[in-house]
Amino acid sequence: MALLHTINKSPFERNALESCMRLALEGSGILLIEDGVYGAVKGTAKSDLVAKAKSKIAIYALGPDLDARGISKNNLIDGVKVVDYGGFVDLVAEHSATQAWL
């Protein structure tokens, strides 16, 4: 199974999401956590990064981090899947290794 990428930085402040998209292979997974969840929101200057990749890469966002930041599930880019902490553990277990884009 392919790599799991995690991103915990805001795409407006750091280039972690850009770098990840450049280096993530088709079939891998990307989990947005902490300030990384801002990358899952539609209608922003950075929405295209996730919108363009979602057909080849599964994109996940951590629900508790969305809730903390007042991000409604209705406001996510289509295709982004919301997971809880248990789902986070499952993703780590299902993938071959994890690359954290700190």
Binding site: F12, E13, E34, D35, V41, A45, P64, D67, G70
Partner: protein, 139 residues
């Protein structure tokens, strides 16, 4: 305002970080509340990811951190009622003023009429405001 403490200076707190990924946002709010006791001319600016601090509907139960966003509602009672939000930062994040906390204050010069504390300003307007400050606190 009394002048027994000397001249009143213009203080601006510039907030550029999202609320929970780092400690900057919470620390800034703590300093604002402490500074409010000194009767200065205080304003807050929210730029870049700092605008995320003011988004309404925050619920931090799941991440085990304190939701400090309700504390912004108290600023009006401390005579902190100039809260500038950069328009360009909101737009880049798909946000409008309707997505932000409805912060209010009571204007003592107009029979305590309730007014909005948040003022959306352009980059050019914010640049002028920054230039007018005696003291700038950066977070």
């Amino acid at each position: 305002m009394s002048d027994e403490g000397g001249t009143i200076k213009k203080f601006m707190y510039v907030n550029r970080k999202a609320p929970y990924g780092t400690i900057y946002a919470l620390e800034s709010l703590e300093v604002v509340l402490i500074g409010a006791a000194f009767d200065q001319d205080v304003s807050l600016a929210f730029v870049d990811d700092g605008v995320f601090q003011l988004v309404k509907g925050q619920n931090t139960k799941g991440i085990g951190m304190k939701n400090f966003s309700p504390t912004f509602n108290a600023l009006g009672d401390y005579d902190v009622n100039k809260i500038y939000v950069e328009k360009e930062s909101l737009a880049a994040r798909g946000l409008s003023v309707d997505d932000l906390l409805p912060l209010k204050y009571e204007d003592e010069d107009e029979d305590w009429a309730e007014k909005d504390s948040i003022r959306v300003v352009s980059s050019a307007e914010l640049a002028e405001l920054l230039d007018q400050q005696d003291v700038v606190f950066s977070f």
